[in-house]
Chain length 310, copies 4
């Protein structure tokens, strides 16, 4: 059985964290911090760690680093937390190698973006690429990660879902990281109970929950998991005004972080304030300097964010 | 001395070939074919092989394959041909590793595109990335490869040139693969005699030559080098009408190839007809099937192309 | 008082119809059909006719035609239906003239897109343009019509809302025609009870309703008003599964129409099947031919659409 | 005979000026200034005035203003200068009216951009639109004005040329305002001696001249006509280094103007310094304030521009 279902038919929503990759001040992989990250996710109830994706700067790591990171996550998760590994790469050879490695070390599932240098032009070509990757880890569920802003591949995720489930035996669903709620709705409709749709835009989580989504993956949960949990608790109790207030606070925090360093570097700076410090982003991303981090800290505090974290 | 100058002050233009990477029918690296490629380039007078770039599907190779390919090119070039290696990667760690490897095996120069998953937002961030790569091969000239259609990084190449030459001791110039002739002109003006600007759009070679460019890198020379040499001979003798006729024939051939498989897969199919057969492209690129290749062959023959190859 | 509020605090949602402009077979304005359109809207309970917008092909009409059309709508609405007039134009002089005319003939409100040939680059410049138009009809509420796909102006609607309400005394709200639900949510939050946000994407109506939106403007109501009314009735009774089924049927119908002629020409062809026949679109839009219209008719019937219209 | 040929087979190039529209301080049409503009163009040898195009802010004028402006140009040109009128509009009805009016007042030729709100999706639909306009002035040559940055219509100009000359009896050629030199070259090749290709990017004039272009239309000639004339004189005498120096100075001046107010508002501010003062741009364009104009003046003077005007 290759499914990867976090949704239930209840009113709860699973939050999977697209974990940051911790770096030392010198920019080296900092594997010691991974255990703290895992403890934190377990503490607030994240359903899984999604490792080496966009937030994890997987594309900025070497293949060797990606393997070491995955191995470390498997050690520290130790049955407390699912580990889902992003294995996407511009090279399908590398992606297949990462997939096979992930399977060999016992992860829960794999996931991949579209190839992002030479890019597939058609849904068929994209699904062929996904199939090649999935085939290298035949016992693991495979989730297509749709993120056109990074890959430049804008083929509709719902069309990919339709084709992929016919072609890929282990196809499990879609991680949807795009503001286009129309395509997201169509994914949710098509997925039914067979496949999972992971909401990948933190600002749309409540709207997607209202529509029926029951699983999300995001980087914002690295530092704001408890806020989203509270939001979802309100939602489950039909306290929509309160839920919306949580969502809007999250949006303000996200906008503040983006102002100081783009979403990723700003988010990572917030992680250092409110959760586990994973250091700065690797180049080519530019991280806020200490003064900017302090200003960001002050700004989100003024919004009332930190007091709500726990 | 870290320069990489192919331009002279004369009327000739150096043609460097962005070589295809040969694959077997099974899609494996076919290193045996590299010697034939080198012989062909020497035969018609290509100044260098640019290895592992866009045409070489470098981003679709594994790191290990990229290294093996470079080593093979160094063996077969054997002083007859310069070898310039593209070491760009979404990960600067991998790019630096490829740069150091290239230096260790004795290539002439390195070159890199901008990081293309997490992307630099500013000229400064881009030049920082280039500097990190160049620094890993401190004895080799470094050329920035500007190709916004693939990388999504549209920062003006002329602005990069201005900043990079202040920051990178081994900065050698720009490979310019974009239709924007305004930015190309500015690059040529700023480069002066200090830096090289490689024209990277085959359809603009004659226009750029008229403007003063004296070096080009392209994939079209894999199969149409002699046609471009003839074009440049006409140009050097002020036979501009004849030169333009060659350029327009090249454009028709390029358009025909693009029609059948996109520029790269179509070009590679032409290579199989008129030069050295390097097989099909790797996924996610889709190659024309045998019938389409036959139709393309017929079409370019009707244009009068094959008869002009030699 | 310049407000233009259709939202109540209840669970109902007002549907305003962005009415087609009827043309004769020769492409001339067909004012005789307008009365039938008005009757139809009154029959199913549309709150208003939005005249001369994108669906109304306002930009394809002459100024004289736009005036005649507005006058006709005022006659036939006759207190049964609000008339809101789109007065946007590439020329602010023309837009102001249309605004003053609209005021003189007794419409309920005006609305305008951003200038779309020379375009405002900043929120300030855009709000200046809106202010110039609003000022020409000082007794009428003014609604900014956000539709980046047509205007090429992508400034965030929520930022426009924030600035416009400070600058424009008659500012009434935003018609939001864009898939970006994040910006839509921010508009709804900022608007509060003071301003109206009209959902302008038919596929997002239910999601926006769940989020709290209580007014929509769209062209789809020309032929599918009753379906959306039924959807909203389900929603108001917390029958979300049924509501979602209506929304998904609407989406399939929209996709079918778009397939045959782009959203607008395809929609207009559906109007001819299920409501009032407004003829074909004007060039440069291309309308489906009779065979295609028949195929579209068959396709939406197979989806179960026509049977649900009433 | 409907041709509109400015090219000869010689080495000279005709410069047609896309004239600014003069406004008073209050933003009203300032018809008194038109005579001065015409005198200036005659003085330095511009071949024609192109009226009401992008630089002329035609889309920001009312229809009535556009007619008045054209009539005034016909009066002041008085056989000294050709008058070519831009009649493009989002509405083909208005465009046809402007075309018929232009014919009735004795202009030399008409020209139009693609419809730019509802946009043609295919070459066929675009050529249909052009045909509808051309047909309203059947004795006048018609030139398609290709400017994707304003219209959002990116269909290749060379494909339009191919189709338009089969369909439109009065088709005269293309005004090409786009940096894509590949498409420009194809236009020049296809045009041959039958049709005219007007280079519409000032920074590409010399490159296009080298390629064989012999006519250009641009707004930069409002203030830098003499500089371009000098450039072309050098080119005609094979003094390419000098010609290139003129082109590069022009590019620096253009970049300086764009910095202060975007190309159009900045250009108009330069007009006030070095030629005939046409006032500020209309909204939604934002014009530099007096301090910025002074700074721009200082900057281009430092570049050596003003001393070279005459």
């Amino acid at each position: 059985m290759t499914g990867l279902r976090y949704s239930t038919h209840g009113r709860d929503m699973a939050l999977l964290t697209a974990v940051f990759t911790p770096f030392t001040a010198a920019g080296e992989l900092d594997l010691d911090t991974v255990a703290k990250q895992a403890d934190d996710l377990v503490a607030w109830g994240s359903a899984a760690a999604y490792v080496g994706g966009t937030a994890g700067e997987g594309a900025s790591l070497s293949t060797e680093e990606r393997r070491a990171l995955v191995e470390r996550w498997c050690e520290v998760a130790a049955g407390r937390l699912d580990v889902i590994v992003h294995v996407g790469h511009s090279s399908l050879v590398e992606a297949r190698g990462l997939a096979a490695h992930a399977e060999s070390v016992g992860v829960k599932a794999i996931s991949a973006v579209a190839p992002y240098f030479h890019r597939p032009d058609t849904v068929d070509a994209l699904v062929d690429s996904c199939a090649a990757i999935a085939d290298a880890a035949p016992t693991l569920p495979f989730t297509y990660y749709h993120i056109p802003s990074m890959t430049g591949v804008s083929l509709r995720a719902s069309d990919v879902l339709l084709a992929a489930r016919e072609r890929i035996p282990t196809f499990a669903g879609v991680k949807f990281a795009h503001n286009d709620m129309v395509d997201l709705q169509r994914c949710l409709h098509l997925a039914g109970d067979e496949h999972e749709v992971f909401v990948g835009v933190a600002k749309l989580v409540l709207a997607a929950w209202q529509w029926g989504a029951r699983a999300a993956i995001g980087s914002v949960y690295n530092f704001a998991g408890p806020l989203f949990r509270r939001m979802l608790d309100h939602a489950a109790r039909d306290e929509l005004a309160d839920a919306r207030e949580c969502q809007l606070l999250a949006q303000q925090v996200i906008d503040a972080a983006a102002w100081y360093g783009g979403e990723l570097a700003g988010f990572k700076a917030l992680g250092s304030l409110s959760g586990v410090d994973c250091g700065r982003c690797r180049p080519p991303l530019v991280s806020p300097d200490p003064e900017q981090v302090a200003a960001l800290h002050a700004e989100v505090t003024a919004l009332g964010f930190l007091g709500r974290v726990r």
